[in-house]
Structure formats: C-alpha cells, structure tokens
C-alpha cells in the first residue's frame, strides 16, 4: 500500500496522499513549527492555542524532560537543570562556553571531543541532545496537529552559522529521529514567506535583527527562484544591546555606582525593556525605580522617544553599516532594492524601522509577524521538498556564509572558496610538499575571513599519509572541498602522482566564542591593515626558513669539499644575520637579509651545480650520453 502513495517529484499528490512535512524555526529564545494546509502556511499551536514554544528544557531525575512553558517555570527554582538559549552552544567547544560566563548558570563538563556537556539530574546533556529534545516536542506537535507521521522537516539556521553549527543542528534532528529535508537560512525562509505571499519579483533585502544577532541577506526573486546574492551581519548585535544602552543611561542619569550586583543589573535591564515597549505607543514614559534592590531610593526618570532614539542610534548604525557592506558584496545599489523585509523581534522597534526606511528610501515590509515569518517560509520549502507542489514552483539558491580555506606554511590561510559563493560548490586546490622525502601532509580546514589560522575557526584536521618520497615540491596534492545544499562541507585529498587518497566528512568538535564568530564576519574589515603586515611577515619568515634549510643541508653535504674555510665562514655569518632578522617582526628587514644571503650563496650554488654535472658525466664517454 505504501508504494502506491509515492508521487513522482513534480506531480501533485492528491489531498489525501499529501506528504506531511513541517518547517521548524529552532530559535534561541523560542521555537515554532509550521506547515502548509490547504495552500496556506500556518504555524501550529499546542492544545492551549500557544504557537511559540519557549526553547527551554527542564531535566528531571526519573521522568521525561519538560519542554517549553512548563520548563520555563523552573528557570529560577531549578536553574541548574533548566536549560535555555542552547542555540548559543551549538557547535561550540567547552572553552568557548566558559567564555560566555555567568549568563549560563550550568555545570559544564568537557567530553573527550571537547564538546561542552551540561551536568543535570538526568545525566550529562550535550547541546545537541537538548536541541533534540526541543525538536522532539515540535515534531510531536506537528504530528498531532496534522494527524500522521512526518516525512521530514526543513529546519532553519542563522545565515552566518558556520559548518560546525550547521552540522550540530543536523545531528540534533537525527537524534530526534526527524529526517532533515534541508537546512535553510533564516533570512531566506523569511523572503520565501513574503515572496510567495505577494508574488514579488526583483531584488529584496531581508533585515533580521533578533535579541542577540543581526543577519542581512540580499536576494533576487524571479519566477519562483530565490537566489541569495550575498549574506552578512554581526553575530553579536541585537536588541539586547538596546537594553544595555538604555540601562547604562539610567545608571548615569541617577548617578548609580557602576558596581552593580546581578539583581540590580536585572532591575535596570527590565526597566529598560519596559520603557522601550511603552515608547512604541507613547512619546514619553516615566521609569520608576520603585523596588530598587539596594540601598538608597531614586526618583522616577522621564524617557522621551527622542532620547531613546539617540541612545539606540549607535547600535542601529552598526547594523546599517553591515547592511551597506552586504549590498556591496551583492553588487547591488540601494535603489535596486525593491522591498525590505523585516524579521526578528527587535525590528518591531520604531527607530529601527525608521532608520531602515531612511536608508532604503522605502517603508520596510512588516505585515507578517516577525516572530513567525521564518517558520512560515520554512513550511513552504518543506512542502515543496516533500513533493507536494507541482512542477518548478520554488527553488532556493543559497550561498556559503563564511569563506573556507586551508592552513599553509607559516600559519597562513589559503582561501579555497570565498564567502557568498553559490552552493552547492566544489573547488580543488593543489599543494606540494615542503621538504625532501616528505611522506605525509597534515591538512587543516578553516572557516573565516581572516588571513591567519589563529583568527579563523578550525573545522577539522586530518592527514594524508603514504605519499611516495620525492624531492620537495615534486608531489602534487589536490585538496577538494565540496559544500552541499545545506552548506555542509566534505573535504578530500589526493596525491596525484601516486593516487594516495584521504577524505573526511567535516565533523568538528570544538569551536569559537560568539565574539570570535562576530570577528570572523566583521573583523576582516577592520583588521585588513594588521592582516596585511602580519601576512607579509609570515611570508618572509617562511621564505627565510626555506633558504636557511637549503643552505644548511648543502653545507653539510659538500660545504667542506667545495668551499674554503673563509668562504664557509662568510656564508655562516650571513645565515646568522638572517636568523636574527627572521626572529624579528620587520618583514622588510627579513626580505633585505634574504637578498643579501642569496647573493652570498649564489657562487656556491653555481659551484654545486657544476660539481653535480661533473660527477654525473664522470667516466662516461660522449657517445654514452
């Protein structure tokens, strides 16, 4: 029977044969599940009519975990066993998590792959497991609302999510027993929700400002094809920064000491949020310090819309700058943008809407609930991928959010695929051996925009072994990167003359802090100058090492035979000079000494060449050659 229900892709299944598929917005603070029913995408509520599922899991000793509102109730009384904001831990290592500090009141333990585990009464839980528990709750809601088993889900991720974070999300789905039809970037999902609803054509910008992150994507829509032209943003910029700016202003206005305890900080932040919300309807509001948790009393404070706007502007300006950069990356001018779509709770802020309208000279679209728009778009895509839509209706073409590369000599990153390259993509790059007789090569895969290994995210390391011993530079090692439609990477390496091969599915187990990911996105802009001189320095150092090694080996081999003691002395002195320069940080000085050194050893190199020819020819008659 089951076989009869399979519809060919491109054919519409009859209503009773529709495959049940959902779109899931797995969010930091709350999650949603949505599906297409009778041609309409809608978010699915629970039995009490609530659509948003708080992304909170409460672990119990001998029972199944509670998820959502029930779990949320225990955030204070059982903080250590109630996990929230787990999305911030996905694909991260224990060291990154420690850097998140007090905001995470859990007992962490590292497992052998360096993944952070949360110590709860129901055992050690990895972020992947916690996410899986949230996904399970959403899938159950989907199945009971739709009345049947799901064939799969489209799960959304922030566009700036790197390979490790995407992989962790996919692992969570696997753990929850749900087939991932596709990982979809959140801004792309939002564009789909708007685009299909309004039959948009042309180029649009999706401005996605959440609590702690900012994503901007530029897409072109044409006959059902949604093509992402560029994506960018700042993973440490969001509505939380608004609250902090307002709280800091209040503190200064009332001359409260900067040494605040946790309760006082929370008080000011809550007051900031209340004020922010009040000013969405009023032009001015009173902020009352009643109930201040500490010594002294403070008079109520008036906050006007104008004052608030001035306080928020520096934060919004950061998002505006990131937007301009992304438009440049997309090679799109401001007036090419036909619509601006707003996503994320923080875009409800009127000043944000004003500034965005000012930049694009048009009113941004806010007609779909910014909390739900991502899930609705994901549901559309899930419906298409499950094969319920006819023909060539919808195709999403996405891009790689962060550049991929390999470590080369001297701790430099060689880019293999640039960010904003359309995916799927495959690229190969050839490398060679550095030393004579080298039989193995370490391959270190990195993601990020900076030029030095230490500034990028390390995704994976593996080794290509069994390379036949050859002279330095003779082996040809081709490293191939393949990124699939989910943005997940697979790397393989092959030595071309011998065919020796190795490959890995990139499964990283360690990660970076939020701050470092933010750096990847934005610091490539601010650190260009730094990077450039650091790069020159490393390049010259590598060059110096190469020369030193070659001359050292040559001297050991035939220095005494070919050179007088004095000639040897001159070369050794120059080598010492080069070592000194090499250990300094002036790349000009190294370059200069390399030149001097090369000159000093030129004659010797010529002698060696003559010598080896002589020896090759020794004792052979002309007709033997």
């Amino acid at each position: 029977m089951a076989l009869l229900q399979i519809a060919e892709p491109g054919q519409t299944a009859k209503p009773h044969q529709r495959k049940l598929a959902v779109g899931i917005d797995l969010g930091t603070t709350h999650s949603l599940v949505a599906s297409v029913r009778s041609g309409q995408a809608e978010t699915l509520p629970n039995s009490r009519g609530e659509h948003l599922l708080p992304s909170v899991v409460h672990y119990l000793a001998d029972e199944l975990p509670q998820v959502g509102i029930k779990a949320q109730l225990h955030l204070v009384d059982d903080a250590a066993n109630t996990v929230m904001s787990v999305k911030r831990l996905m694909g991260r290592g224990i060291d990154d998590v420690k850097r998140l500090g007090e905001s995470m009141p859990y007992l962490f333990e590292a497992c052998d792959q360096g993944m952070p585990l949360i110590n709860t009464v129901s055992g050690l839980k990895s972020p992947v497991q916690v996410s899986a528990d949230i996904l399970r709750a959403l899938v159950q809601r989907g199945e009971s609302s739709l009345g049947g088993e799901l064939v799969g889900a489209v799960i959304t991720v922030p566009a700036y999510f790197d390979d490790a974070q995407r992989q962790a999300t996919k692992d969570a789905a696997q753990l929850a027993g749900i087939q991932v039809l596709r990982l979809l970037n959140e801004p792309t999902a939002a564009a789909v929700a708007y685009g299909l609803e309004q039959q948009q054509q042309g180029t649009i910008a999706v401005f996605d400002l959440g609590g702690g992150t900012f994503d901007i994507s530029v897409l072109r829509m044409e006959q059902g094809v949604f093509e992402v032209l560029a994506t960018g943003g700042d993973s440490a910029l969001g509505g939380d920064d608004f609250d902090h700016a307002l709280a800091e202003w209040m503190r200064q206005e009332r001359q409260i000491s900067a040494q605040l305890n946790l309760a006082q900080q929370r008080f000011l932040l809550r007051l900031a949020r209340t004020g922010k919300e009040a000013l969405s309807d009023e032009l001015s509001t009173q902020l009352s310090f009643e109930g201040w948790p500490g010594d002294g009393a403070y008079a109520a404070l008036e906050l006007t819309r104008k004052q608030m706007d001035d306080l928020l502007d520096p934060v919004i300006s950061k998002a505006i700058r990131a937007t301009k950069r992304t438009l440049r990356d997309a090679k799109v001018a401001l007036d090419d943008i036909a619509e601006v779509v707003m996503v994320g709770g923080s875009t409800r802020n009127l000043r944000v809407q004003e500034r965005v309208a000012e930049l694009f000279q048009r009113q941004p679209l806010t007609s779909i609930d910014p909390d739900r728009v991502v899930a609705l778009g994901a549901a559309r895509q899930a419906d298409v991928l499950a094969g319920n839509q006819s023909g060539e209706e919808l195709l999403l073409l996405d891009v790689l959010p962060l550049s991929l590369g390999l470590e080369t000599m001297g701790g430099l990153v060689e880019r293999v695929i640039d960010r904003n390259t359309p995916i799927p993509v495959a690229r190969a790059q050839e490398f060679t051996t550095y030393q004579d007789g080298q039989t193995a090569m370490a391959i270190h895969v990195l993601q990020g925009e900076r030029e030095l290994v230490q500034d990028c995210r390390s995704l994976s390391r593996f080794e290509l072994r069994g390379i036949p011993a050859m002279a330095a530079g003779a082996a040809k090692i081709r490293v191939t990167f393949q990124v699939d439609a989910d943005g997940l990477l697979e790397v393989s390496a092959r030595e071309l003359t011998s065919g020796v091969a190795a490959s890995v599915q990139v499964k990283p187990s360690y990660g970076l802090s939020d701050q470092q990911v933010a750096d990847m996105i934005k610091a490539s802009w601010t650190n260009v100058e730094d990077d450039r001189s650091a790069r020159s320095l490393r390049e010259q150092q590598v060059e110096a090492d190469r020369l030193l090694e070659a001359v050292t080996m040559a001297l050991a081999e035939d220095g005494e035979r070919l050179l007088t003691t004095q000639e040897q002395q001159v070369i050794v002195e120059q080598m010492e000079q080069l070592v000194l320069a090499r250990n300094g940080d002036d790349h000009h000085a190294i370059a200069k000494q390399i030149e001097v050194m090369a000159k000093a050893s030129d004659a010797y190199a010529a002698m060696r060449m003559d010598d080896s020819i002589k020896r090759a020819l020794a004792g052979k008659a002309v007709d033997q050659l």
């Binding site: 950069r325 991928l385 094969g387 195709l395 260009v528």
Partner: protein, 175 residues
C-alpha cells in the same frame, strides 16, 4: 547532464568570447531547476550526491562564463594554453610601469583626504582599461592570434586585481 563537457556546450553556447549574458542567466536558471539537489530530496543517496556534483559543476561553469577574465582564461585553456602558468611572467615594460604607477596611486589613497572622488576617478580609469583589454582579447581570439589574446588576458588579470583592491579599500572607508 554530462559534466565532462566544456562549459560552453553545457549552456548551448558557441565557444566564443562574446556571449549573450541574459541567455546565459536564463539557461543557468532552468538547468538549476532541473538538477538542483532539492529536486531529489526523496531519492537515494547516490542520486542526491550526483545532484550536488552536477549543481556544483553548473555553478562553476556559470561563474566562469559570466566573468570576462575567467571566460578569457577558460577559452585559452580550451585551446591547450595556460595563461596562469607561474612561469608565464613576461609583460611589456610600459604596461608594468603603468601598473607600478597605479599601485602607488592606490597606496596614496589610504592616506588621502576626501578619497571618494579619487576612488571614483580611478575606478573609471580601470573600467575603461578593462573594457579596452576585453575588446583586444575578443579581436585577437576571433582572428586566432592566441599569443596576443593571452597577453590581453594577462593584462586584464592585473587590472581586475587592482579593481578588487580598490573595491576593498572603498569598503573599508565606508566604516
């Protein structure tokens, strides 16, 4: 979809420098529609892997054909030439001198007061040079003067690199 054929054949184009960009774009769209992995989600792993490979090939082909520099290099590679060979470094002296001058201009822009008009002027100058080199290449290629075509494309590579650096500089100044 045969991914061993050359990029031009795959898009049904004549192997030439001048191509109809709009037709290329349309064809790319419809090929993506047919071959994208999203079309094969419910099928076997090997079918899906193949779809990833085909789409990666199409993306590579499209990127190559839509950029004049890459298209030029590719045309010469199809003729068995290697314009990017590291041994291939000889350039006419006057061109090199001009490049050094342009590079100095670019360096000066880092310190310039009100750099935008100067950036715009340099952009325009580079754009004009790129256009000239593209038309030189087209002519040389059409008349089978492949050595000349190679020189043009290598010059173009210098110009494109400068354009990228200028673009990056403008991006920095935005902040």
């Amino acid at each position: 979809m045969d991914i061993s054929q050359d990029f031009f054949s795959c898009y049904g184009l004549v192997c030439d420098f001048s191509i109809d960009m709009e037709a290329l774009r349309q064809t790319h769209r419809s090929l993506q529609q047919q071959h994208h992995p999203d079309r094969f989600v419910s099928q076997s792993d090997s079918v899906q892997r193949h779809a990833v490979q085909v789409t990666a090939y199409l993306n590579q082909a499209y990127a190559t054909l839509s950029e004049p520099l890459l298209r030029g290099i590719y045309l010469l590679q199809l003729k068995g030439m290697d314009p990017l060979a590291p041994t291939n470094t000889q350039m006419p002296m006057d061109f090199l001198l001009q490049q050094i001058e342009l590079r100095e201009c670019l360096e000066d822009l880092h310190q310039a007061q009100d750099p935008q008009p100067k950036i715009d002027a340099m952009m325009a100058q580079l754009e004009a040079q790129a256009n000239q080199l593209e038309s030189d290449f087209a002519q040389a290629y059409a008349s089978s003067h492949l050595d000349q075509a190679e020189t043009s494309v290598r010059k173009l590579q210098f110009i494109v690199k400068l354009q990228q650096q200028l673009d990056a500089l403008e991006g920095e100044l935005l902040d």
